[in-house]
Amino acid sequence: MILSELKLHNFRNYEDLSVDFSPGVNVLIGENAQGKTNLLEAVYVLALTRSHRTANDRELIKWQAHEAALTGRVEKQGGSVPLELIFSSKGKKAKVNHLEQARLSQYVGQLNVILFAPEDLYLVKGAPALRRHFMDQEFGQMSNKYLYNSGQFRTILKQRNQYLKQLQFKQQHDRVLLQVLSDQLAAYGAEIIVARAAFLKKLEKWAQTIHETVAQHKEELTFHYVTQVKLDEPSSVEAVYQQLLDLYLNNETKEIEQGSTQYGPQRDDLRFLINQKNVQTYGSQGQQRTTALSVKLAEIDLMREQTGEYPILLLDDVLSELDDARQTHLLTAIQNKVQTFLTTTSLSGIAQQLIQTPTIFNISHGTLTKEEPQ
């Protein structure tokens, strides 16, 4: 999958921009605060209809403008698809092949991206919420059903937590409605847990192969999905649903006292093990970074396995965070395989030697100039 052209209108600091990208490595060079990350963000937004930097779409529209528009052309196996996304005070409109889509979920998935930002290096040692977000984000891109289930789950979780609080403060008294909400939550929760476990098995397989080469066959990387229910092999949605339902039923009084839902996938975590030891607690700083890198690179392969095409890779200031050995590994893994956009303040050292025929764009005050190859 390749993003061949991108047009921006009133997006962040770009008033009007039209640019053609190369199918290989696109390097965006510029000083700080010139719009490098904004451009990367534009590609991310075009793919997922929302930003990784803000939850408020209003911020995406250029200061004092009313409407922002992003258009792009994606080259896929099936041909070339024009995408268009318009943000205004009324909300957002998404068009595929010039046809407006009634639901954003019909639009997401047309363009697949994987973003690798410095924060992702904390995937291993950061809070569990980071790893749950990672799973929801990536698996949602690969499966519409996952996206739908996690959306429904979030809505019902909010309803249930609210109702538990109302029961706690005796504003409501009816336990039957709580059981109905538990039933709904367990049904969607079970779908999520089983899907996560299945996706993780596949991701683990890819990550293992990658990690073996990075760590020169001295380390074996394994994943462990931490959940409150017992997962059989193969795990069935029905069995997990029943377990969750029992947990809710047996802990009704406790949950009402706490005023919030204590069981379900919103409490789960993902653990990474190297030679059977938890990387988060026993791993060195270097091992934690290598693991995060392996997982991110594995996503590229998993996405291809699931969708039949390589996604687009966005590297936001990551090179400066990696040492030479890891940079080498990252760059050799992606070259001639994945269309890549990377931002940096200067292209030097190992990266300059390794990237074959990069297309370089200089960014200054929201304008882009393509550097002609010498």
């Binding site: 009634a102 639901r103 979920s105 019909q106 519409n144 059903k145 739908y148 429904q152 809505t155 019902i156 909010k158 309803q159 249930r160 609210q162 109702y163 109302q166 504003q171 409501q172 009816d174 039957v176 409605l177 059981q179 109905v180 909400l181 039933d183 709904q184």
Partner: protein, 199 residues
């Protein structure tokens, strides 16, 4: 400069309607001033009459001029089925179909703790009393919307009613009639496959 008080009040009144903000309200208010006297009087009368003459039916909760409503009074209708809807306007949609001849019950909302609507806040108690008083009801069809709140309300009703030995059914999900499979989104298709029927 401020608007003269009568028009300011009119603007404020229009703004109380759903989907109308200050701009539209101002436009409507100025248009009202330019309307014929008779039209304005009729409009005002219609507003007052709608509020004064319409009540909720004491049996089913539908809006009606007379209590009980025409549908509840109509003995020729099938007294053994009750179709439960969220809003009075849903009854109009069902009646247009001309194929359902049973009775109705309007909930005036769905269960949604976030919105602060619990079982006591919607018209559920009246439905239960109705079922207790008329033991000839054999089936309750729940026709709430296919949202997660509509679904929760349907499940809630079924838990209360089923133990009394009354059949509780739910509207089918899936493809709309005459629609191309091409145009259906994945989740609709998924529901349609899940709820497939044998032929």
């Amino acid at each position: 400069m401020q608007y003269p008080e009568p028009i300011a009040q009119l603007i404020e009144s229009y703004m109380k309607l759903p989907g109308i903000g200050s701009k539209t309200a101002t436009r409507l208010a100025f248009y009202t001033i330019s309307m014929e006297n008779d039209d304005v009087t009729n409009f005002a009368k219609a507003l007052i009459a709608a509020k004064r003459d319409l009540h909720f039916c004491s049996i089913c909760g539908n809006i009606t001029e007379e209590d009980p409503c025409i549908i509840c009074k109509d003995q020729s209708r099938d007294q053994s089925t009750i179709l439960v809807v969220e809003e009075s306007k849903d009854i109009m949609s069902m009646e247009k179909m001309k194929e359902y001849h049973g009775l109705y019950h309007v909930l005036h909302g769905v269960l949604s703790p976030i919105e602060g609507t619990g079982p006591e806040d919607i018209n559920i108690a009246a439905l239960l009393t109705r079922l207790q008083q008329h033991d000839n009801v054999k089936e309750v069809i729940v026709a709430t919307n296919a949202s997660s709140e509509g679904e929760a309300t349907a499940m809630y009703l079924s838990r209360l009613i089923k133990p009394a030995g009354i059949k509780v059914t739910r509207l089918a999900h899936g493809l709309s009639v005459g629609a191309d499979i091409d145009y259906a989104d994945e989740m609709t298709l998924f529901k349609a496959v899940e709820g497939r029927t044998e032929i």
